[in-house]
Amino acid sequence: MRFSFAGVEYEGREGETLAAALVRNGVLGGFRSPYRDRPRGVFSDGEEEPNALVRVGDEPLARATLVELEEGLVAEPVAGKGRLEPPRRERRYDSMHAHCDVLVVGAGPAGRAAAAAGGGDVILAELGRCAPLDGVRVLERTAVVGLYDGNLAVAVERGRRLWRIRARRIVLATGAVERPTLFEDNDRPGVMLAGAFKRYGRPAGATPVSGGFTPRVQLWRQAGGRLRWDDRVGAPVPDGELRAVACAGSVTGEGLPDAPPFALPDGEEGRIFVDLERDATVADVRRAVAAGLRSVEHVKRYTTIGTGPGQGRTSGVLATRVAAELLGVHPGELGTTTARPPYLPVPFALLAGRNRGPLFDPVRVTPLHERHVELGAVFEDVGQWKRPRYYPRSGEEMDAAVLRECAAVRERVGMQDVSTLGKIDVQGPDAAELLDRLYTNLISTLPVGMCRYGVMCRADGMVFDDGVVMRLGEGRFLCTTTTGNAAAVLAWMEEWLQTEWPELRVWLASVTEQWAAVAVAGPDAREFLQPLTGVALDAASFPFMAIREGEVVGIPARVCRVSFSGELAFEVWVDGRRGHELWRALEGAGGATPYGTEAMHVLRAEKAYPIVGQDTDGTVTPQDLGMDWVVSKKKGHFVGKRSFDRPDTSRADRKQLVAVLPADPDELLPEGAQLVADPDVPPPVPMLGHVTSSYRSAALGRTFALALVRGGRGRVGETVHAPLEDRVVPAVLAEPVLYDPEGRRRDGRPA
């Protein structure tokens, strides 16, 4: 077969590596060193190859000794540094899980013997080719690159498949790698390890060298094994035992030839190379020792020896021996550097596996999602969920769409998909007690058939989540959570229940996806919904915060009178599988405007209802939000209560939620803008707080914002300044509730 190297065509043979083919074609050089631009050539025939780096296709850095020839292969030499180019093919790889009783790494005589000895399910992994073995699962051309806790071996098969192998026992039969020797210009093309020289068929013009053998102890070290210096082998060998990892064959040092005696060579030390990958010489080691360095780790860093792709495979022991010689100590006293995974370089794409694009993180959508798409919704990511942000009509910009959606809710009626809210079913005779301990307000006094807004704090007193608690029975509640926090809240409740209060008889389950929910909000909500349901919606029959069961558009439903906009509103909950049907029926009834999260945010901000995670940041108490009313004074304790009495949490000048009205009613403050009392002082300018939410309001006919401001409630009426990129915006602090502060719209259009 034909292949080309550095623009020259050669004849190759089936089954040959690129390096073998080059050597057979008489190409002993052809490469350059990375830092000193010295000529280099193929040095080895294995994974330890330091010189013969090539670009093959879109592989920027391959070792010629590991590249199998293919017809028409084009290789270019690379001097140390690869070039990343846009992938020409999609690099998307699979990964495999395997379990076995014994994993044997290396299929030399010791490895094959260990695999043949059995002991249950056996996997034999071999970097090169490997003949089959009875009763053994053989993974050839497979590099075990990492050993992790719990006997997890990570392996790469043919560079294109990742294996995670859990083995009860691991046998490392990884063998030994030949060491170079030190002499002047020992890096010149044609100098190669003696074993490679033999296996390449003693190529003319090549010079074999051998400084003994170094056991491949990297995986043993990764597994936590110790080493001891072996004078006979002239290298470190495994020492002691590990519970589930053993070594076999020449990796132990057994059977390896005696190392030749070691002495510092004569010659110009700047031309005696210790690490070919880093162009580091004996002179570099001498400098390091003269600089006062005594640890091999320091010598490694000073000289960069062993920091290349080979991680010191051929250079590490040499460097130790040179340093020991210069320091006049035994090499065993110097210790060894740490071996770190991976044993061989592993492509990013292989490790990323299939967890890319849409699979990088699951996308969660509600049962109504398809309809939102049909309606042309623009979505926002909230946690893993896709939520409609707004529904632009043709040619409509976001601002216009949101103003229109807000106006629809304030003046007529709107509908929103609120199915993403977390929903936790809480059942058991002690359910009320559990919730009393976790929410800041009293839950146990809630009558069956009613719901209540609740806030949860962390033990440090900072707001963690909020939502509505419905009491469906004496011992049955349904708690809603914010969209992004559902899993965290369930975990939080489980943790307290199981670890602190196991005596409470309560059971928790997530029912987030079992329900679809649509909020119908606006002064016309009752008129809109009443024809579609047998549930009496008049204010006397269905008071604020009540729950009713019935049918809506013929679908069994739970209807709750909760409002996140200040308007009359009903949340209609149905079986998730019928959510789409509900929404289409509501749409079909005509008159309700679909609105998204952006309009919802504006409407709630006009009422100063905070959004956890937007108006809070983990440093905000309920009191800071102006919600003293949600913190029970009656309860003995609840999670977070003690923290409110700490000096810093009881300060009067904490940052508090207030409204901000820019002096220019058309000026929209950016969310995140900082507020200061005096914008004219030089930095660092003392800051009063920051804008958490900011909108144009259709109802107010102007812009407004919410902000957390130091001592904010005491500053209402004061003018503050928001220094922006190009200007300073004056604004007045105001009481937080800007719209309908008396709450007259809660029951519908005021008379």
Binding site: L351, G672, Q674
Partner: protein, 402 residues
């Protein structure tokens, strides 16, 4: 190659029996503390005790990101002080630190990220820190290989940009401080493990070590992930937990990444070192550990995230992964100052963000040790904040930890 390294670094002295100040831990912060004690306070009767080899811990295991664009004023102040020191440090230490102000991007991927990011930018600007908010197309101008298209799982909605941020070569930083401290007379004592702290009538008076007892007028513990073990020796309980934090480098590539890129939501931080390797940090492993290694799935996740942002990296290969031990405090801010034991001070809790703080940490801690009271920049990071509740919460919604 040893080019660029100095001909002499430090002595290896036997420890004396007593010192005016004993610093435990010869990492970046400990070495910097010793240097500033000697340089700025004239206190040269100082030993830095190290149980292993100098600069073998987090100082040479981190990803060398330097920036000062922290959220809270207290944090911004100390990190900005550090950045200003960085800007003159190579000259001061006469050591090439390969400090390169190539700029740092912190990406925003959700609307809340955008709010939080802009909040940080506005605060930074008022604190006198260079900070800009960039829209996606501006992000692409700064970093052309970043995928800012809208059709990825978590599109880039913008980024904060600190042009003065950058990277440096970590061991040169540690070695630069070590060499300078050594030259000023500080004893750097390696392979000397502290096994006890002697406390008499409420005052720490000496450390017991594997090389014998060493009396000390003042003791500063600067031991990152091992801080609680040392403080426990004096009966001081610190609110710190030690976790693995992994990082990795790729093989060497020609320069493709012109700045540092960090993303909290997608969880990547990456830069390209001068030599050409991509340097990446991963997320913290959840469990307590002193093993200096973490779990494989963290690495897998990190590379999936990297490819989301940088399609070009698909053909790059991981050369080496490793782990450090980070000392995580409850508010992701350091603890720097006195302890309930007189004469015993701590400088710890830097968690994932210690490298960039090294000069300011060392300088303010040296001041604190010399004066016996906290330096003004360190005062907000006192141990007693956990009792009052006045935390400096940098891992809240709006903050970027690393």
């Amino acid at each position: 190659m040893s080019e660029g390294q100095p001909d002499f670094l430090w002595r290896s002295p036997e420890p004396r029996r007593a010192y005016e100040v004993v610093i435990v831990g010869a990492g970046g912060h400990g070495l910097a503390t010793a240097y500033y004690l000697a340089r700025e306070h004239g206190i040269t009767d100082v030993a830095v005790l190290e149980k292993g080899w100098l600069a073998g811990g987090n100082i040479t295991r981190n990803t060398t990101v330097i920036r000062s664009n922290y959220l809270w004023d207290e944090s911004a102040a100390i990190y900005e002080h550090a950045l200003q020191l960085w800007e003159g440090l190579a000259e001061e230490l006469d050591y090439d630190l390969l400090f390169d102000q190539r700029g740092v991007l912190n990406l925003a991927h959700t609307l809340q990220d955008v709010r939080d990011s802009r909040r940080r930018v506005y605060a930074n600007r008022l604190s006198g820190i260079d900070a800009e908010w960039l829209e996606p197309e501006q992000v692409a101008e700064v970093c052309p290989i970043l995928d800012v298209s809208p059709d990825v799982r978590y599109p880039v909605l913008g980024a904060t940009y600190q042009p003065r941020g950058g990277i440096a070569r970590h061991e040169n930083v540690a070695w630069g401080y070590a060499r300078a401290a050594d030259a000023l007379g500080v004893d750097l004592v390696q392979e000397c493990e502290v096994t006890g702290i002697e406390v008499e009538r409420g005052r720490a008076v000496a450390v017991r070590t594997t090389l014998g007892r060493i009396a000390a007028g003042t003791i500063g513990l600067v031991a990152a992930g091992h801080s609680t073990l040392l403080a426990d020796l004096a009966g001081v309980r610190l609110p710190l937990q030690s976790h693995p934090l992994q990082a990795l480098v790729s093989e060497l590539y020609e320069q493709v990444l012109p700045c540092v890129v960090m993303s909290n939501a997608v969880h990547v931080y990456v830069s390209q070192a001068h030599k050409g390797e991509l340097v990446m940090g991963a997320g913290i492993d959840a469990y307590n550990s002193y093993a200096q290694r973490g779990s494989f799935h963290v690495i897998e996740r990190q590379l999936a995230a990297a490819l989301e942002l940088f399609p070009l990296f698909a053909s790059a290969s991981v050369l080496r992964t490793w782990g450090g031990i980070v000392d995580v405090s409850p508010d992701a801010s350091p603890i720097l100052g006195p302890t309930p034991v007189d004469g015993l001070y701590v400088n710890c809790g830097w968690g994932t963000g210690g490298f960039k703080a090294t000069p300011a940490s060392g300088r303010t801690f040296a001041w604190t040790l010399a004066h016996g009271e906290p330096h003004a920049l360190a005062a907000p990071f006192s141990l007693d904040r956990f009792a009052t509740g006045a935390l400096v919460d940098e891992h809240g919604a709006a903050a970027v930890a690393h």
